[in-house]
């Protein structure tokens, strides 16, 4: 698990899209499972300080999903639909229920790199630059919480 390339993020200047790329030591099939098996998904999706409770999960084309993140009694729910689920590509919608009008269209690709490695490419299309603004900002707000501080510690320790 040594030389894993770090996540790359790109905010497109012309369309309200955030793109993301990351390589993994796992097969496309494993990555697919980590995104579609609710038990596995709950293990990695939320920050460590949050509990993720999957309330609804039907990872088939046309199915829907909903999960709730809780910390100290505070709950944040997210939901969406699996539009298209294929071994090499997942297309889904994503809404934070605190902002029910905002819908992101997410596409994930699992590119087989051979030797048990996979490149994950993701793209989130939101409906305006303002939404993307809010989106990125939510990252910043979470960034201010302890989970982020923990990451900083890990970075400082050279653990990452």
């Amino acid at each position: 698990m040594n030389n894993i390339a770090e996540t790359q993020i790109e905010a497109d200047p012309n369309v309200p899209i955030i793109r993301l790329t990351r390589e993994f030591a796992g097969t496309p099939e494993q990555l697919f499972r980590a995104h579609t098996d609710p038990r596995l998904f709950a293990q990695w999706i939320g920050p460590r300080s949050l509990q993720t409770r999957i309330e609804e999960w039907d990872a088939r084309s046309g199915g829907s999903w909903r999960f709730v993140s809780t910390r100290d009694g505070e709950e944040h729910a997210f939901r969406g639909c699996f539009h298209d689920v294929r071994p090499d590509r997942i297309v889904q919608t994503f809404t934070y229920e605190g902002d029910p009008d905002g819908v992101a269209l997410e596409t994930l690709w699992f590119d087989d790199l051979g030797n048990g490695r996979t490149r994950l490419r993701g793209q989130s299309l939101v409906d305006s630059f303002e939404s993307r603004d809010a989106w990125l900002k939510s990252g910043m707000e979470t960034g201010a919480n302890e989970g982020y501080a923990k990451l900083e510690e890990m970075l400082a320790d050279g653990a990452i």
């Binding site: 796992g26 990555l31 999706i45 630059f129 910043m140 979470t142 990451l151």
Partner: protein, 120 residues
Amino acid sequence: MAADELSRIFAALADPTRRDMVTQLAVGDATVNQLAEPYPISLQAVYKHLKVLEDAGVVSRLPGPQPRPVRLEAEVFDLMDKWIERYRRRAEERYRRLDAVLAQLNETETGKDEQKGSVA
């Protein structure tokens, strides 16, 4: 602090004409007339756009006699880079957890069928 500031910056850049102006200014300072040239809009409309960019701190007007050139504030983009960097790190944090899940899968699966071992 930064969250509001950044909201204003992103809102200012949400408009295609203003984004285009910023692209022009990335090449170098320009007077309002020079900036207005490519657009089929009134000078007044150009001033309006500039005002939004100025209020967001994206551009500034250099002091001195008219015509005062407009300048891009480079620090603004450093701030945006930082913002995106935080988002990136959050994603990276998430994917470190996914790494662990995949490592577990690899472990249990090499245990089950000895055929597929992967990565030291």
